[in-house]
């Protein structure tokens, strides 16, 4: 391979926010994204919204996947969206939410700018396909 060849890669931040210590799902996603050929940055547990914003901006990720199993999505996600806007990073970051989210809240999250909400039992291929099709270009 010529070193000058363009080497695009989809970069994803898999983020755990808030007081939610369940990271098995996030690990499974990180691994599946890796195997799909994505570059995955994993945030670790218990992050505040502004830490996630800092990571998303600095890492210049195409995709931000937020895993929340604590039910606090309606307070945490708006803060992240706000932070991304502050750094002009909102428009070209695909925001996904994974976790247990009631239908009413789903609509609200989508209105905020979340592209899709993936509930329990979503086949991995579906999520990967969604990312491939919708990840904003760099």
């Amino acid at each position: 391979m010529s070193a000058d060849q363009e080497q695009q890669s989809i970069r994803c931040l898999v983020a755990k926010v808030g007081l939610d210590g369940h990271d098995r799902g996030a690990h499974v996603i990180a691994r599946a994204f890796r195997d799909a050929g994505f570059e995955v940055i994993y945030s670790g547990l218990h992050n505040a919204p502004d830490e996630i914003v800092q990571a998303a901006v600095q890492e210049d990720v195409n995709v931000l996947g937020i895993s929340i199993l604590s039910g606090a999505h309606d307070t945490l996600v708006p803060k992240i969206v706000e932070g991304l806007k502050e750094y002009d990073a909102f428009d070209d970051t695909l925001i996904l939410v994974g976790g247990v989210v009631p239908d009413d809240d789903k609509a609200e999250l989508k209105e905020l700018g979340v592209a899709e909400v993936f509930g329990p039992g979503t086949p991995m291929e579906e999520t990967i396909e969604f990312v491939r099709e919708n990840a904003p270009e760099r």
């Binding site: 070193a3 363009e6 799909a36 570059e39 940055i41 600095q58 890492e59 210049d60 760099r138």
Partner: protein
């Protein structure tokens, strides 16, 4: 340079983090026009101190980097970190997990931390790393820390990028024959025995001490003529990075080394050597591209292989044939 790149460069020099992040992405992706972008960066570089951190996986590199960055911030300096993790040889995918350890600097945008995948390159440093260092330098970072893939015994690319190289050695890293081997232990300007509270740390320190004493002075870099008085014996620092122990001593050693580099002219010698390497590397890339297009114009590599496979010709003759027209151009 395209209009977007011009704007991006202006924003980067203006201190916008988003622009810095995007420039690094363009460098990583080798997007068309990225070379012009990096060319433009060059005039704005040269002020940052570049520190390389290497060592085996799990030695504690990221944890130490976190504590060092935090220390610099408390001194009022800005920090850029590039942390490289391996990529899959099969899918090209990667899990970049060094960021998790950066607990001391969360929410502080003046520590700009960027994870990079090695994207298949050997030697532990992604080929784009030195360009990314330039972006951080031009942005105005005071200190830039490059953390390599935790690869092992041949992690030597880092010397080409960094002013000061720290090699982390965990306790229990083998007997003293390991210390005789060439490679990673030769490139250290400072050794850090991390996890110094674990058994085996004393042994590692004494083995390293013995090895350092047997050193025959520092190898001179290519542009090292005229350097005088650079007699640096790599110190051995003990740290417990997770508790922040020994970090102050480590930074004192880094500062001391940098002062000596500056006062003896070694810093300039290293920088010149780095530019020479960079020019050569770029020319190799360009030459590779010329050769690749010459192969294409001869019907592609598969056709050449077939002829060799059928014993009509051999690899040496094919190589001669392909290179001759290029050679002729040069000698004209």
């Amino acid at each position: 340079m395209s209009a977007t790149h011009t704007d991006l460069l202006a924003d980067l020099l203006d201190g916008k983090h988003r622009a810095l992040a995007r420039v690094i992405t363009k460098i990583e992706n080798r997007e068309p026009g990225y070379r012009e972008l990096v060319s433009e960066l060059h005039t704005h570089t040269g002020d940052a101190e570049i520190i390389g951190i290497t060592g085996s996986p799990g030695a504690g590199k990221s944890t130490l980097v976190d504590k060092v960055a935090n220390y610099y911030r408390e001194r009022g300096e800005t920090v850029g970190v590039i942390a490289i993790d391996p990529s899959s040889p099969f899918t090209g995918g990667a899990v970049l997990g060094d960021r998790i350890r950066m607990a001391s600097n969360v929410g502080d945008m003046d520590v700009f931390f960027r994870s990079m995948s090695a994207r298949g390159s050997l030697g532990g440093l992604s080929t784009a790393t030195s360009d990314a260092v330039k972006a951080l330098d031009a942005f105005g970072k005071d200190k830039i820390i490059v953390e390599t893939v935790g690869a092992g015994q041949n992690e030597i690319d880092i010397v080409k990028t960094a002013d000061t190289v720290a090699v982390l050695v965990p306790p229990e890293s083998g007997d003293n024959v390991q210390m005789l081997k060439a490679g990673i232990l030769e490139i250290a300007d400072v050794f850090v025995v991390n996890k110094a509270d674990l058994p085996g740390a004393d042994r590692a320190v004494s083995d390293l001490t013995e090895m350092v004493h047997m050193r025959d002075g520092t190898p001179t870099p290519e542009f090292g003529d005229g350097v005088e008085g650079y007699d640096w014996e790599p110190p051995i620092v003990e740290t417990i990075a997770k508790d922040g122990e020994g970090v102050t001593e480590f930074i004192e050693v880094l500062d001391e080394h940098h002062d000596l580099l500056e006062s003896t002219g070694m810093l300039d010698a290293k920088t010149r050597t780095r530019y020479a390497e960079e020019i050569r590397a770029l020319l190799r890339e360009d030459a590779n591209r010329l050769v690749a297009s010459e192969i294409e114009s001869r019907g592609g590599i598969a056709e050449l292989v077939e002829a060799v496979f059928e014993r009509e010709t051999d690899p040496y003759s094919v190589a001669d044939e392909v290179i001759t027209p290029i050679e002729d151009c040069i000698h004209d």
